[in-house]
Symmetry: C2
């Protein structure tokens, strides 16, 4: 049976074989730049694994793998512009390396290029597969809007339920959608597809919650990002929202004040004080428990899928890798 490395290498080879540059170069150079930056490429990897889980033909999902990753990179490109993030994968983002208009238009074109990949492949299930892709895309946009809304609402007015709904749309549905599309190409039965989708949702939620945790507690040298960036940015994440659940009145007041602080406070002092509050509440343990629960729910969904156990191995490996990730 193939292992996780097989699929990661496969996805790497698919991207290496692809030509992204075209005319006009001003439009396509940023697209090639973005798609060549690499990243973990988890979504196409999962799509291939899901296809193999139900005995699908690997050649048939090559284009879908390209499509889902191209779409994901389009969302990153526009998100980085909207969030004014200067770096992505340690490199300058498109809007900083080029300009805003280039980021807008190259992003739009990448969305269409994702469609071009999906439309290359004939399959009797085309309409259902494309609907799955497109409804996922719409949910990702809705999730991004909700994330932007949180900033305006402020920490005190966002609930953990609001937050879980947001990360479900912004992050989890695309992982789940990649699995679903892979399974649909393989002709998997509807109820197995839905179980795999549920696995992807819980995996995605756990993945994002872990991302939030690493922001506060990750090893900068390993994680690749500066610890506490979310705190500096007053970014509402699973950490402060969970902290509010455990805070006493005094701690609550302090946390809300720190997350409302603008440029009038020393950033490192703010990070130090927020982390001290978290420490006092033993927040790390509570977060790790919540993440473990989410992974456990995902594992149960995977257990429940009717497929040869050895075929599930790569997805189990992937889950354990994500579970243990330090970056």
């Amino acid at each position: 049976m193939n292992n996780i490395k097989y699929y990661l290498d496969k996805v790497g080879a698919i991207f290496d074989a692809e030509q992204f540059i075209a005319e006009p170069r001003e439009l396509y150079a940023p697209i090639e730049y973005t798609l060549r930056l690499g990243g973990k490429r988890i979504r196409p990897t999962m799509l291939l694994m899901a296809n193999a889980l139900f005995g699908g033909d690997e050649q048939q999902v090559r284009n879908a793998a390209l499509g889902i990753e191209t779409f994901h990179n389009f969302t990153l490109l526009h998100d980085d512009l909207m969030d004014r993030s200067p770096l992505r994968r340690g490199q300058p983002t498109v809007y900083t390396k080029w300009d805003e208009n280039t980021a807008i238009l190259s992003g739009d074109t990448m969305f269409a290029l994702a469609w071009r990949y999906f439309l290359r492949q004939s399959t009797p299930k085309l309409q259902v597969i494309l609907q799955c892709f497109n409804e996922t895309a719409i949910e990702v946009c809705e999730g991004q809007q909700k994330d932007m809304n949180f900033e305006r609402m402020g920490l005190a007015n966002v609930s953990i339920d609001n937050y879980m709904d947001m990360i479900r749309q912004k992050t989890a549905v695309l992982l789940a959608g990649a699995l679903k599309i892979g399974a649909l190409y393989a002709g998997a039965p509807a109820d197995e597809v839905e179980r795999l989708y549920a696995f992807g949702i819980h995996l995605g939620l756990a993945f994002q919650m872990q991302d939030d945790l690493l922001d506060g507690y990750g090893d900068t040298a390993v994680f690749g990002k500066k610890t506490g960036q979310d705190i500096r940015d007053n970014k509402i994440s699973f950490l402060p929202l969970t902290a509010l659940k455990y805070a006493n009145e005094e701690q609550r007041k302090e946390l809300l004040a720190l997350f409302a602080a603008k440029d009038n406070m020393d950033e490192e002092e703010k990070v130090r004080r927020v982390l001290a509050l978290y420490q006092a509440m033993n927040l790390k343990n509570a977060i790790e428990k919540a993440i473990a629960d989410e992974f456990e729910t995902a594992r149960k969904e995977l257990d429940g899928i009717h497929a040869d156990e050895p075929r599930k191995t790569p997805l189990r490996e992937l889950m354990e890798t994500l579970n243990g990730r330090k970056k």
Copy 2:
């Protein structure tokens, strides 16, 4: 036989019956605003006409009509942001009424909503139809990039061929694509589809050249835009490019200098001097001749299509309306 008014009313009714608002409202309110502004809605009208030309079922193209117009409005929304245009159809553009991020994300969502409409309709031709739509979308993006490139290149370095290639992609392929999609739904033979597409391309070129002409010579009260806005913006259009063809050395120098002028020149003085140059070259006649030629080529393509003559009437009416348009 149905006339042009029938199709315009039909498209109006299709849009009136549609619900565009959804949650989160911050995302969908600008989408509803944009789609309710109306405009000429030529593309869905042409799609319906093309479908009827080959005896198609009007109900089958309802969603495609919504899809093509939603896509068109997405491109306007992002173009207005990139071009920093404050007004569209006499109303504030989305990025001015809301903000830049809203314009980016609502635009992205509109692109996906266009796909949702197209994906609602089952048809054995789905893959071909969606490929036509998507390749059209990519060409529109390429055309917009070329248009932005022109600004950097400067008037002296853009040829009329460059310009025709740009407006073919930015404007004409979407009109032609709308016709092609309508015809494909009706099951029209491939060579007739291509003839109809060619008709759409020449109609689209004529349409854009006329837009350029109206900028310089339109009646502000009728056209709805201030005369000479392209001149104020140093916008490279068919007018200055054609003028360069007729200019003597002295006129050429003056025109290039005027189109390179930045804020150091009184805008109305600039408009006056450019229009005086055009006048001296009798430019209006030359442009009108070029537009008439383009309409004539379009007419011949339409003549060559094998379909009942009465069924061509709405498209002929539309062409004559566009030909005689003052706005």
